[in-house]
Structure formats: C-alpha cells, structure tokens
C-alpha cells in the first residue's frame, strides 16, 4: 500500500513529515495493530495493541486494513523474484521465504555478498526484509526473526541459537507460554536437558523442531516452482529493453546449452524464459515444441513468435537485468540423420509450423480431434491441443497415422452423420404429423423449411450415469428440404413416455 502511495522506492527517500504506518485487523472482537513500521515502534506502538490505544499515543497514525490475500500475492511475486538467486524457493508460513542457496553463492561473490545484495534490492523495491543464512532452514528462520547474526557459520547452530527465545524454534504459541511458565525460556535450556522426559511432557513436536533447527533431522523444502531440467542465465550490468537484444540473448543461451543437451542425448519439448525486470517484476514466457528440438535457431524462433504475440503487452519498464532460459521438459532426441528422403524434411517443417503457430497464438489454439467412447454426438469428439501435455509422444501428431480409429469403422453407404455439428443444439419450431415421425415443416433461425425427404428416427439414449435419471432420449432425423439442404434434427424426449410436449432441435448440417 505504501509502495502504491509513495512509489516503489519510498523507503530510500526521506519522509520527515510522514506519519508512522500500521496495519490493523479485527482480532478477538477488537481492532488491533497487526503490523507496524519501525517509525511507529519508536513511538511505543506494539503489535496486538488495540487501535484506540495506539491512536492515543500517536493521533495521526496512518492505518490501513489488513488484506491477507493481497499480502500472499505480494509474497508470491517476491518469491518469483527470488528465483534470480536460486531456483529452489519455498514458502515459510505466511510471512517469509526459504531460499535453498546451496551451490549458488559463488555466483554472487559469497554468502555475505548475497545477503547484502538481496537486502539492498528488496529495500530498493520498498520492502524491509531480514535475511539469515544457516545450515538448516530452522536455524535460518530463527536467526532472521529473533537473532542478530546474518550468517551462521557451518555447524555452529547450537552456539548461535543458544540465547534466542523458544519461539524461535517455530513452536505452537501455547506451548511456548506453557514452557515459559516452567522456566524454559531460551533455546539453550533444551540442550542439556534429558530428551525422553521432554518428549513425554511436551510432545514430539518440540524435539522435532529442535532437531530440525540443529540439523539432527532433515527438513525437506518443497520448491514453489517446478525445477527446470537445465537452466542457463545471463546477467546484464546495463538492463536490456529491446526485443532484439532479448532474442539475441535467448539465442546465445540456447547455443550454450546445446552441447549439454547433446551430451545427454536430449531435445527440448518445453522451455521458458524468465525476464527479471529491474523493479522486481518477473515475466515468464513458455513455448512448446511438438518434437524434441535442439537447434538454437528453432528455439529462438519460437520465442520470436511468442514475443510477437505479446506486442506491447511486454512492459520492459526500465529494462531487464537477468534473463534465464529454463528447460522444463526434455526428451530423448531422435538422432536421425537428414536423409535424401524428401518427405522427412517436410515432416520436420510441418512440426516447426505447428510449434510456431502454437507459440504465436497460444498452444490451446492449435488443435486436433480426439475421440471419446460415447454415442452422444457432441461428446463423442474433442478438440485437443496438439501441443498438450498429454500429447507427449511425438508420433501422435495428426496425419502421421495412416488410418486412424475414425476410419476403421468400415465403409458406410450414404451418410448418417452431418459434416458440421452446431456448437449447441438450437431449438426449432417443428410440426410433425405423427408424434413419432419426422417434421413436415420447421422454422430454424427465422427461416421456414419444408421437408421433402427424411430418414429416421435414429434413437440415441441419454447417458444416465452422467445425465441422471430424468434425462430424455433423442430421436435423430435426417431431413432434406425442398431446396436440397440437408439437416440433422432431433426430437428431445419420447412422446408420452418421457414427455408430452417434446421439443425439436437442430444439431447439424449435412453436406
């Protein structure tokens, strides 16, 4: 909220006349302070204080309502931004993040430099954050919230946490109060006490959290974003803005990845670029390939289409300072050598076309028929994205099967199914001489048609296991009018058995 009001870098600018800020929410039927800034703390405002008390201390306290979902969204975007340090970022409660930086620190010039960089950048974006590095997530959590050390040396958790309050172990609030009454106030109290009585008295949770913080028990972080199979990134001292620069960088990154892919015998099916904007926004663009690709040109061509589809929606702001190429899904690359066989090259070209169309229009806009085992016409087929996740096998592209399941039904003489199916059956006004017979006259889309020939009925019963018991059957008629238009109409409901006034619908058009 403050960022919206005074700009993103409000913390860096002095605001001498500005009032202290606090966030309030209704807790236990009273409006209380749930968060406040350091300026407010200096006036004696505390968390959990009622708003009226706080106002008595500072009359011009600037209050705003607590909105947990907005906070969560904000934290999620910070989490995404933290992807610049490590791909393994996990939630820690509702107010923090864990970053698994094993093996990443050398890229930033050591742990201290990384923490400094992180804090500085977050401050520039208008957040005050505390960061700590330790061997275990538990120890880092404790240090960030209750300690003063930014970095706990490897294996020194016990000494570092000794003086911290028990709450630093991520314990239940009531448990902390209960233990405080018994004299256990600091973490250090637990170190020399026999474990068995502790576990019996306070439950296993206490010792588990203690062991996790000390590194005696492993704690697994589940990263929020899928971890890429391969990642390559480029950092810029001067942020880049132009599309050509971005594409050039993608090309270079893809080129650098090519030998890695080659060594593993893999090709890219799905990859993503992450553009880290200077002000903390992260833009993600993903592309799919219908078959594993390795050539940097093909990959950058897909991103070219993807970027072209965005037009002006890609807001570069003051530029991007980190660009990362993540390979999210790779598959075994078919090392077939380019042969003299011309159709093979065309196959490749067609795959490239489908990829390009998918990248520009969106993968869900390039589709093929899939079919379902049902008699209800509108449910019997589906338009599935060609590049969908379920469609992993490269061989199932349309046209590669010489004869598909549709065609194996044997030759039928004459037509029983329309060529075009309306999206939804459209109601028609029809007059049928006999209740079970075809209509002699009907009105569809305001035009009147007279039947010359008809064939039917073909009864298609409802699927009671999906539609429920009361659903009607359909009697389909193929009807030809005086001019020769052929329609597929159905009567919804069997006369007198299911309904007394069956309605008629238009469902398809014959060639």
């Amino acid at each position: 909220m403050a960022r919206r009001k005074w700009g993103k870098s409000w913390r860096l600018k002095p605001r001498p006349e500005a009032p202290p800020i606090a966030v309030v929410d209704t807790v236990k039927n009273t409006v209380r302070i749930v968060a406040c800034d350091s300026h407010a703390t200096s006036f004696g405002i505390k968390i959990d204080q009622t708003l009226s008390d706080a106002r008595a201390l500072v009359p011009d306290l600037e209050c705003s309502q607590n909105r947990p979902e907005e906070l969560k969204a904000l934290l999620a975007s910070i989490c995404e931004w933290c992807g610049r340090y490590t791909p393994l970022v996990a939630w820690s409660g509702t107010d923090g993040l864990f970053l698994d930086i094993s093996g990443c620190t050398h890229l930033f010039g050591g742990e201290a430099a990384l923490v400094a960089d992180l804090e500085h950048r977050l401050k520039a974006q208008g957040f005050s954050a505390r960061a700590a590095i330790a061997d275990t997530p538990g120890a880092a959590w404790a240090m960030a919230r209750y300690g003063r050390l930014a970095i706990v040396a490897p294996g020194r958790q016990r000494e570092a946490l000794r003086d911290l309050p028990l709450a630093a172990l991520r314990l239940d609030e009531t448990l902390v109060i209960e233990m405080a009454q018994l004299g256990f106030k600091a973490v250090g109290c637990l170190i020399d006490v026999p474990r068995a009585p502790l576990a019996r008295r306070f439950g296993r949770d206490l010792l588990r959290q203690f062991d996790r913080a000390m590194g005696d028990e492993d704690e697994v972080l589940s990263p929020l974003m899928p971890v890429a199979e391969l990642t390559s990134e480029k950092r810029f001292s001067e942020p880049i803005v132009h599309e050509d620069d971005i594409l050039g960088t993608i090309d270079r990154l893809a080129t650098s990845m090519q030998p890695l892919l080659q060594r593993r015998g893999l090709g890219v099916r799905r990859c993503e670029i992450k553009l880290f904007r200077v002000d903390g926004q992260v833009c993600r663009l993903a592309v799919n390939a219908s078959a594993p690709v390795r050539a940097p040109k093909r990959i950058s061509a897909l991103f070219r289409e993807r970027l072209a589809a965005l037009h002006d929606d890609l807001d570069a702001g003051f530029g991007f300072d980190v660009l990362r190429l993540d390979i999210l899904h790779a598959e075994a690359f078919d090392e077939a050598q380019a042969s003299f066989d011309a159709p093979r090259n065309h196959e490749d070209e067609q795959r490239a076309l489908i990829d390009r169309l998918g990248a520009r229009l969106g993968t869900d806009r390039v589709r093929q028929f899939g079919f379902a085992d049902t008699h209800i016409p509108e449910r019997s087929f589906d338009l599935l994205p060609v590049l969908s996740a379920s469609n992993r096998a490269g061989g199932s592209l349309p046209g590669t099967v010489t004869k598909s399941a549709w065609m194996s039904e044997g030759t039928t003489y004459g037509l029983t199914r329309p060529l075009l199916l309306l999206r939804q059956p459209e109601p028609v006004e029809a007059i049928a001489p006999v209740p079970d017979g075809p209509p002699i006259r009907f009105r569809w889309r305001k035009a009147l048609y007279e039947t010359r020939r008809s064939e039917g009925p073909e009864r298609i019963a409802c699927e009671w296991w999906r539609d429920g018991r009361g659903a009607y059957s359909r009697d389909y008629f193929q009807v030809e009018d005086m001019a020769g238009h052929r329609f597929w109409l159905f009567r919804h409901g069997l006369y007198q058995r299911e309904t007394d006034a069956p309605r008629w619908y238009m469902h398809g058009l014959f060639p």
């Binding site: 390039v366 060609v386 004869k403 039928t412 004459g414 075009l420 030809e480 020769g484």
Partner: protein, 271 residues
C-alpha cells in the same frame, strides 16, 4: 539381397519421388475438360456459399477437392476465423470419416481474430508437404483484399501447395484466386424418386476461372471411389452412358444379410 529385389526397391523409391502432375482431375469429365485436365494444385482457390445453411455443402465440396488433390495423405491445416464457428458450428469427425476424409489429418487453427487468421494461413501456405491449407472466413472482410489474397496465391505457387479460402455467407468478390466456386445445395434425387436423402449433391458454379471458361454443373460426391460425378437432374439420359459407379447407395448402418457361417469344425465328444 538379390539384384532383382534391389531394383524393385529402387524403382519404388523413384516412383515415390516422381513429380506429381500439377493438375488433379475431379473425376467428372465435363468439369475436367473445361479446367484443362483438372484443378491446378499449386494455387489459391476459393469456395463460397451465400447462406449459412449451405456452408456444409461448400465444406463438403472443398473436402472433396482436397481428397482429389492429394489421395488420402498429408495434413490439412484448417484455419477458421472465430466468427465462422458461431453460426456454422464445427467439423464433425464422424461426418468427415463418412465422406471419406480421415479426421486425424486435420489440424485446426483457431486464431483470435482475422488478422492472426491471415497470419496463420500465410505461415501454413509457406510450409511444404501439407495436403491443403484452408482459410475459413465469414462474409467479405475488407482486410482480405486483393493484396492479401495475392500473397497467399504467390506463396502457394512457390511451394506447389493447395490453398483454399472457404467463404461462408459471402458475395462474389474480386480476389487473386485461380478459381472461384459457388456451391449451393441440391436435392439428392429427382422429386418423387426416393423418400430418403442419399449421397450429397450440389449445384456447383465455376464463377471464375483464370485459364478459361466458366460453367455450372450438378455434381455428386462418391465417397467410396472418392470422385465427383456429374449428376444432372435428368438422370436417366446420362446415367447409363457416363457413369457406371454406384449411384444409389445402400442405406447406411442397417444390418445387411445374414452373416456367412464360419468354418464348421467337428469336435470330439466331450466325454
């Protein structure tokens, strides 16, 4: 490997790579004669219908053309302007299969608007090896002018690919297409002959032909042999001489005669 077999293999490869003729006969002799042997493959064509209720007839005719051009192989990229599916519905795979077109060959492209539809069609026409590229549009949008169609035409000529515009509820409009066909539905049999609808029949007008004369015929699609048949109203005159193909189709999906008995095998007594 014997040398004879090797020669047979090699000649198979040679045959597979032999240049295909650049014209595809439709099957109906009257039409083919006028077209100079058949429809040109590497070009842009146009099929239109005036009313939405005739779009199925136009689509059916177009699918017939595609079948004639590339006998049952290769992908078909079908780019449909979003406006079209609202009143014409979508292609129905079982119906496609019944007129002899394998639905698995179809790649649907559903762009957001006409501009992207044109872009997608342009990209698809550039690609070699496709059986056909269809651009389905509604009406006569200003964006699809002579320039846009000319570009499609040039691309199609370069690659030798078949491109076709399918216009629904559209008027005749000048374009760069090599031919323009106007399709109307026609009753499937002369009045009073049959009580049930049979094979699709259309009144097809060749409105524009770059290379020659125009004309108007009644054509029927034979989905078994995958040919167009000239089927004029007065059928009795021409039927016997011109066509000997199956004219009256047996009704579909009806049980035929009793299935033939299998081989009778005498088993030994169980006990």
């Amino acid at each position: 490997m014997s040398s004879q077999r090797r020669i047979a293999d090699l000649s198979g490869i040679v045959r597979a790579h032999a240049p295909v003729s650049d014209r595809a006969p439709l099957g109906a002799e009257v039409v083919d004669r006028l077209l100079g042997g058949g429809l040109v493959r590497g070009a842009l064509h146009e099929v239109r219908c005036e009313h939405v209720r005739e779009i199925a007839a136009a689509s059916g005719f177009l699918i017939g053309l595609i079948e004639r051009l590339h006998a049952s192989s290769g992908r078909v990229v079908w780019v449909a302007d979003p406006a079209t599916s609202l009143d014409a519905g979508t292609l129905f795979p079982q119906g496609l299969a019944q007129i002899g077109f394998d639905p698995a060959r179809l790649v649907h492209v559903l762009p957001h608007d006409l501009a992207t539809a044109l872009w997608a069609a342009d990209e698809a026409v550039k690609c070699r090896g496709l059986a056909a590229v269809v651009l389905q549009i509604r009406g006569n949008p200003a964006r699809l002018d002579l320039t846009a169609t000319r570009r499609l035409m040039l691309r199609a000529q370069e690659n030798g690919g078949f491109a076709c515009m399918l216009r629904q509820s559209a008027e005749a409009q000048a374009s760069a297409a090599a031919t323009r066909w106007h399709v109307r539905a026609e009753s499937s049999a002369p009045p009073g002959t049959l009580s049930t609808p049979s094979a699709p029949r259309w009144r097809v007008t060749l409105e524009k032909n770059r290379e020659g004369r125009t004309g108007e015929w009644s054509l029927a699609w034979n989905s078994e042999c995958k040919v167009f048949e000239h089927a004029p109203e007065t059928r009795s005159e021409t039927c016997s001489a011109e066509n000997s193909g199956p004219r009256l189709h047996a009704p579909a999906e009806r049980p035929g005669g009793a299935a033939q008995m299998g081989q009778v095998v005498a088993f030994e007594a169980a006990s």
